[in-house]
């Protein structure tokens, strides 16, 4: 099946860096082209000499060996000249480094949280502050790429990050579990997301459009399946999007003091499980031996619920802490679900959101 260029992602048989959409990406591109040219020139010069020698100074042509074996002048020259070249290379790079690091005075600040294996986004400051959502791979994992024509195979998501054009966007990265890497090549931006720490980077996209990147730090088995998609829109479109998103969130918000029935919780929990837990603990609850614990038959899942809530909230070794990314209702639901699934028949078989809220203290 023929594949076309991805819009805002890689082109088919692309040979050089992507078309830049920010000033920084543009500078990077020209730095790279400059380096490439200088290196090529040196390369041709150096190996021109070598191949000349190889063709002319060979025994089969009867060439007799010279005996010289040092020359202070030449040696100084080929130490000093490269030194000068290196300085010429480093100078423009220095300016770009300083510009890249200046994350001050952003119009919108967005926190990007890497999780195994999806991205979470929280709009912290500027227009849209308060919005938060998860962004998952949208390509069905079971499709056969050899037969399905899709220009955005593995670089499409369900919820895109939306940002206004020509505004300084500061991205604050962090992670829940292991290190991930947030990048959008067209913006010239790449920043590791480190659990427990925040780091930042910024971009000012100059063209409306959709731009794509991938997680770029090995983060476990589904490292290849947590892409990043940023949609750059006009100011008016952005305002409209913010309004829509806020309404949507208000509609979805749960009241943690609401009391649920066990079936409601199980239903909701199944969804939470599928979206967050299944990657490690597996659909059958058996986990991955040696790497991820089984929930089916687990002592904690079948034991007192306080400990169960504690581990889901705060994590334990490979298990990440979920207190920041799941709501009380979601945590209550997923615990209730696991306590009543597979062969599990826990004594304390229902957890209400209020109990989770209480355990957060």
């Amino acid at each position: 099946v023929e594949v076309g260029d991805s819009v805002g992602g890689p082109a088919v048989r692309q040979l050089n860096l992507p078309v830049p959409v920010t000033k920084i990406a543009e500078q990077i591109s020209s730095l790279h082209n400059m380096m490439l040219v200088i290196c090529l020139v040196i390369f041709v010069a150096v190996f021109g000499v070598m191949f000349y020698s190889i063709f002319k100074h060979r025994k089969s042509l009867g060439h007799k060996p010279a005996t010289f074996h040092e020359s202070v002048g030449v040696e100084i020259a080929w130490t000093v000249v490269p030194f000068v070249i290196v300085i010429l290379m480093a100078w423009p790079a220095t300016k770009t480094v300083v510009a890249m690091k200046d994350t001050s005075n952003a119009d919108v600040t967005i926190k990007a949280t890497g999780m195994q294996w999806k991205w979470g986004y929280d709009y912290l400051k500027g227009e849209g502050a308060g919005i938060s959502f998860l962004s998952n791979l949208a390509t069905p994992r079971d499709q056969d790429p050899a037969t399905v024509k899709n220009d955005n195979y593995l670089i499409e998501v369900d919820n895109e990050v939306v940002v206004p054009v020509n505004k300084k966007i500061r991205i604050v990265t962090t992670a829940n579990d292991v290190i991930h890497g947030w990048t959008v090549p067209a913006f010239g931006v790449k920043q590791d997301a480190i659990p427990g720490f925040v780091r930042d980077t910024w971009f000012r996209a100059e063209k409306v459009g959709t731009y794509r990147g991938n997680c770029v730090e090995l983060c476990g088995k589904d490292h290849a399946y947590m892409p990043i998609v940023v949609k750059v829109v006009t100011d008016a479109e952005y305002t409209a999007w913010v309004d829509g998103k806020k309404k949507e969130m208000a509609a979805k918000a749960d009241d943690p003091s609401k009391v649920w029935t066990i079936d409601e919780l199980k239903q909701r929990g199944e969804k939470v499980y599928a979206a967050n837990c299944v990657a490690c603990h597996q659909a059958n609850g058996k986990g991955v031996p040696g790497a991820f614990a089984a929930l089916d038959g687990s002592k904690i899942v079948n034991g007192p619920k306080a400990e169960n809530i504690n581990i889901v909230l705060n994590g334990k070794s490979a298990m990440p802490a979920w207190k920041a990314s799941l709501s009380d209702t979601e945590i209550a639901a997923v615990i209730t679900y696991t306590r009543n699934s597979w062969s599990n028949k826990a004594q304390e078989n229902i957890v209400q959101p209020a109990e989770v809220l209480a355990a957060r203290k």
């Binding site: 962090t174 720490f197 925040v198 930042d200 705060n314």
Partner: protein
């Protein structure tokens, strides 16, 4: 030095030996056992201990061979020189091993801790800044409160002990060079005793830390660096004391001459190295 040794070849090269290969295989057993042990697999501890015992008993024969060669007059000044170089480089490698842990302490304390407590990190750890002095329980609040370990009095006494042991060892060395075997043995013995007392205090300090200060290996980055640094140091003191004990045995056996006793000197170098590491520890772990 011993270059007058008539029997010695130009450079003695030992013949085939089964010890190295057997030691390697025993280490395989040890490491396989240890991998199982840390994962709480039941046979792990037995296999590990069996492996270690095998390593130790093989090393006993191996070093026995080396000592016999030395006593048999096969070594000369060249070999002696080789041993000097090798011991120096070995100690250098140990220095770098400790450097990794000192580096971790420095990095955690001077770079990551202030980072975790800075303004940006309020997003993740809203309550942390106030607690960011060194020796805190970490930003997540998952670690039980503990008290840090100051320099008084055990670490200071221990410093004095180790420094004294350096002196007694030097006295012993001078005695050896002067050919006074009894003096050598007595001062060497004193050194070992000082080392043992040091270890005793260290063990007491650990118990005190665990039971009274609630300072544990799991007490966040403070506990991690504290126990790994002092623990590895203690381990090296133990090794050094074992080396010195072997030397004591060899002194009593009359293996050493005033001119030729690199075994003794090598062990002494090692002991001084362990001493210097302690001074570093004393300053950066306990004082600062």
């Amino acid at each position: 030095m011993a270059s007058q040794n008539a029997k010695a070849p130009y450079y003695f090269v030992p013949g085939p030996s089964k010890w190295p290969m057997l030691t390697g295989m025993s280490l395989l057993v040890t490491m396989a056992g240890a991998s199982a042990w840390v994962n709480s697999i039941s046979w792990g501890p037995y296999v590990t201990v069996a492996g270690i015992l095998a390593v130790l008993s093989i090393l006993y024969y191996w070093f026995g061979d080396a000592i016999a060669e030395s006593e048999g007059g096969l070594y000369n000044a060249r070999i002696d020189n080789s041993y000097r170089w090798s011991m120096s480089w070995f100690i250098f490698s140990e220095v770098m091993f400790f450097a990794a842990f000192f580096g971790a302490l420095f990095y955690a304390r001077s770079i990551s801790m202030p980072w975790l407590a800075d303004l940006d990190h309020k997003v993740l750890w809203p309550d942390f800044a106030a607690a960011a002095h060194w020796g805190n329980t970490g930003p997540a609040g998952t670690i039980e409160p503990f008290t840090t370990m100051g320099p008084f009095w055990i670490p200071t006494i221990n410093t004095a002990l180790l420094l004294t042991s350096g002196v007694t060892l030097t006295i012993s060395h001078h005695a050896l060079r002067a050919g006074h075997r009894a003096q050598t043995a007595i001062w060497l013995f004193a050194t070992i005793v000082l080392g043992a007392v040091f270890m005793g205090f260290q063990a007491y300090e650990y118990m005190h830390a665990y039971s009274d200060l609630n300072l544990k290996l799991t007490s966040g980055i403070f506990g991690s660096t504290f126990y790994m640094l002092t623990g590895f140091h203690g381990f090296h003191v133990t090794i050094g004391a074992i080396m010195l004990s072997v030397m004591l045995y060899r002194v009593l056996k009359g293996h050493f001459t005033p001119e030729n006793h690199f075994g003794f000197e090598g062990a002494a170098w090692y002991w001084h190295f362990v001493d210097v590491v302690w001074l570093g520890l004393y300053v950066v772990v306990y004082w600062l």
